[in-house]
């Protein structure tokens, strides 16, 4: 339950945020710069010898030492964090946690003094200590989790293995609980309110584009088959993981992306052929189909854990700024992701509007019986939609892996956002999904101006509900069908 730890460590009190907004508005009015520290951004960097307050540091590591058996934290364990001329000793608190403020980005070594772990709590698994932790700019609460076990194993890091009956442990450090912990995003060099707004806007736009890639596929599947695909998140994760595998073989980034997209399309094809098409043949209803997709999502997600473990995986990335626009500083992969998304989305638009396949897909979405009657091979169209959706979701997954983080639940964590985007834009409409994704993502990121960071995901879901209640046809959908 590492997420708990991070959420607690994140100190972004609502009051401070509100004050920040007000002060920021004043500052904007008087056109004068605001001391960045008032907003808790870009704290002054201290020299390595000082203890850095993790509340104000731009980069922190969250160390959490626990027992495997009951996930209880182990207090009073000595931990040393070293790197880049920085070296400091810490002791875990009563929950087994300690937050370490860092002087800046870089690679740090976290070493646990195993002698200070009580014998009853057991030992750390071989090879898990010391641990290297990579921290990029404004990366807060990068996890360094250690699990001590009385039965010495070889496993490392935290495990998502369900403890007891609860079985719903939400893993930490993902977008899953909306805390967005440890997510490197468009960073701000910290020049007042507008600097923050523009950084959030940039994050919103980029993430919106990535979300749109996934959402369009989900929307097309819904449109052509009526299925709310709960396993769509796994298509996204699959893409990220395939890029990770390819990177593991030493493939360059471009090969990783292309490979992941191809494999993603293949995954979509295999899913349709092995599962969805036979179920359509059996004339299985939409509710059971939805439940099948839930089961599939659950199984696939944990197959990912089985093979890739529960820890964060990182793709090789250059953390240095590539493009600096005013207060917004972007890495190369951020820019690449956005540009790639735009190109692909334009290509999708072209396919949908200009090609025979796109027209056929729209006809099937409109009325599949009529489409079939007019000679369209509905099954073939649906298969193409699955391949396309798989490829798009995989691309989204790779780019999200570069942009934020990759884990076994990267995709499932954004599943409800995908649904929200699709709903917002109008169920079953590809272009609606794009608009919906952008609106949702920008809204989500701007909402953190007034809301605590960890509620932005909840805010997006509130929007989803409001849309369903007041404009269920979405932003672009038609109010009523004729007939």
């Amino acid at each position: 339950m590492t997420a708990n730890g991070y959420a607690q460590l994140r100190k972004r009190p609502r009051v401070a945020a509100l004050v920040g907004v007000l002060v920021g508005l004043l500052a904007a009015l008087s056109a004068s710069a605001l001391p960045a520290t008032a907003l808790g951004v870009d704290a002054p960097r201290t020299s390595a010898a000082d203890v850095i307050d993790p509340d104000t540091a731009a980069e922190t590591i969250a160390v959490w030492i626990r027992q495997t058996s009951d996930k209880a934290g182990i207090p009073d364990v000595a931990v040393t964090v070293e790197g880049d001329g920085f070296s400091q000793d810490f002791t875990t608190d009563k929950d087994g946690r300690v937050a370490v403020g860092l002087p800046g980005p870089g690679t740090y070594t976290v070493t646990v003094d195993e002698g200070t772990i009580p014998e009853s709590a057991g030992k750390l698994p071989d090879g898990s200590n010391p641990r290297e932790v990579r921290v990029v700019q404004t990366n807060k609460n990068v996890p360094a989790n250690f699990l001590a076990s009385t039965t010495a194993g070889t496993g490392t890091g935290s495990t998502p293995a369900p403890s007891g009956s609860a079985g719903t442990e939400a893993p930490g450090g993902t977008t899953g609980d909306g805390t967005g912990a440890a997510v490197p995003q468009a960073t701000t060099s910290g020049t007042g309110f507008w600097g923050i707004v523009s950084a959030k806007l940039a994050t919103g736009v980029i993430f919106g584009l990535l979300l749109a890639l996934a959402a369009i596929g989900a929307s097309l599947i819904y449109g052509t088959t009526g299925l709310n695909n709960f396993a769509h998140g796994e298509l996204v994760t699959f893409g990220g993981l395939m890029a990770y595998v390819l990177a593991g073989f030493g493939a360059p980034g471009a090969v990783g992306i292309i490979g992941a997209v191809i494999l993603g399309g293949l995954f979509g094809f295999v899913q349709d052929s092995a599962i969805w098409r036979p179920l359509r043949r059996r004339r299985v209803g939409l509710i059971p189909l939805m439940i099948v997709s839930i089961g599939l999502a659950l199984a696939t997600r944990y197959i990912f854990v089985f093979f890739f473990g529960a820890d964060r995986l990182s793709l090789p990335n250059n953390p240095s700024p590539f493009l600096v626009l005013g207060a917004v500083s972007l890495r190369f992969t951020d820019v690449l992701g956005a540009v790639l998304s735009i190109i692909v989305l334009l290509a999708v638009a072209f396919v949908m509007l200009r090609t025979k396949l796109g027209k056929a897909a729209r006809a099937v979405a409109d009325n599949s019986a009529l489409a079939a009657a007019s000679g369209i091979d509905v099954d073939r169209v649906i298969r193409s939609v699955w391949i396309g959706a798989g490829a798009l979701a995989a691309l989204s997954g790779v780019l999200i892996a570069y942009y934020q983080a990759l884990r076994w639940d990267t995709g499932s964590a954004i599943l409800l956002l995908i649904f929200a985007a699709v709903t917002l834009g109008g169920l079953g409409s590809a272009f609606g999904a794009l608009v919906g994704s952008m609106v949702l993502s920008i809204f989500m990121n701007l909402s953190t101006l007034v809301l605590p960071e960890n509620l932005k995901y909840a805010a997006a879901l509130v929007v989803l509900i409001l849309i369903l209640l007041f404009r269920p046809q979405g932003i672009l959908g038609k109010r009523e069908r004729v007939g």
Binding site: N367, S368, A369, R479, R481, V482, G483
Partner: protein, 307 residues
């Protein structure tokens, strides 16, 4: 049961919107638009009480939409109407039914996963056991249950479904389901029975019996309003015919008069001049933009009955 002569029904010269001597429904300025399309635009129409009125018109004339509006299943953009002198516009569907105006559906809505008997019992009113708290205490609703069971049994006998009482309704044929739906509607002892295409998909063997049942309703003092495509049926049982086209009432009158009116034939048939009105029976109404599954179930329904 002899037909009610025109003179006993109308209170004025026969024309669209003619006032009736004893109207059960009086509707004014009812309109319903879907996007840019006006599905219903009825200036004035009255439905005579204790008579059998047929509502006819070409596909897309707005008959079913008008039905849905009157029964509260759809909301009008404009308009008012009264039922037995009381305002009934924009009243929710279940309240309409409680006022004594029950309907059946074009696509039969028998509840297939319930037994025929349970379908019937569901149609009854004033069952205290339908209240959640009272439902827990059987003595509070048992006597009413016995009463409505007796009534259900006699209705099932009348509709020759009594042998099927304990079967799942899904096992009935299309025609039997129509019968069940009608019998179920009668459980509440309504004043007005509205039948949406009662003959659609019913095999010829059952047609006569269905017609007999409709005539029985009038004999028992009820009013019947029905939408129908089969002109033989309309001719045979209707006392009065209202013709709709493009959402409007274009003609009214006794069956023989209306059907020989060349203007009606024109409006009704549009491009199908050479078609004999009597052969339109059983045709499927496939509206534009209709959901495919509805179309599909329509086709299946028809196919099932063809066997």
């Amino acid at each position: 049961m002899p037909k009610t002569p025109t003179a006993d029904l109308v209170a004025g010269p026969v024309a669209p919107g003619v006032p009736k001597r004893n109207p059960i429904i009086v509707a004014d300025g009812v309109s319903r638009r879907f996007g840019g399309l006006t599905a219903v635009d009825v200036a004035h129409v009255e439905i005579p009480a204790n008579a059998i009125t047929a509502l006819i018109g070409p596909n897309g004339a707005g008959k079913t939409t008008f039905f849905n509006l009157l029964t509260g299943f759809d909301q009008p953009n404009t308009g008012t109407w009264t039922f037995q002198g009381r305002d009934l516009a924009r009243v929710s569907a279940y309240r309409v039914a409680r006022r004594g105006m029950v309907r059946t559906f074009q696509l039969t809505k028998s509840l297939g996963l319930m037994t025929v008997m349970d379908n019937m019992l569901l149609g009854a009113t004033q069952q205290p056991g339908e209240n959640m708290l009272r439902a827990l205490f059987r003595p509070l609703w048992r006597s009413r249950e016995d009463e409505i069971r007796v009534r259900a049994q006699s209705l099932l006998e009348r509709f020759k479904l009594d042998t099927k009482a304990e079967d799942y309704a899904a096992s009935l044929s299309g025609g039997q389901r129509k019968l069940l739906e009608m019998a179920r509607a009668l459980m509440s002892e309504p004043q007005l029975v509205m039948l949406d295409e009662p003959m659609a998909g019913v095999n010829p063997a059952l047609t006569q019996s269905l017609l007999g049942h409709i005539l029985d309703l009038k004999e028992q003092g009820m009013t019947v309003l029905f939408v129908e495509h089969d002109m033989h049926v309309v001719r045979e049982i209707a006392d009065w015919v209202i013709v709709m086209a493009e959402g409007k009432v274009v003609a009214e009158g006794a069956p023989d008069t209306v059907m020989s009116d060349p203007a009606v034939i024109d409006a009704y048939l549009g491009a199908h001049h050479e078609t004999d009105l009597g052969t339109l029976s059983g045709q499927l109404e496939v509206a534009k933009g209709m959901e495919s599954d509805v179309v599909r179930s329509d086709i299946e329904e028809a196919a099932k009955d063809a066997h």
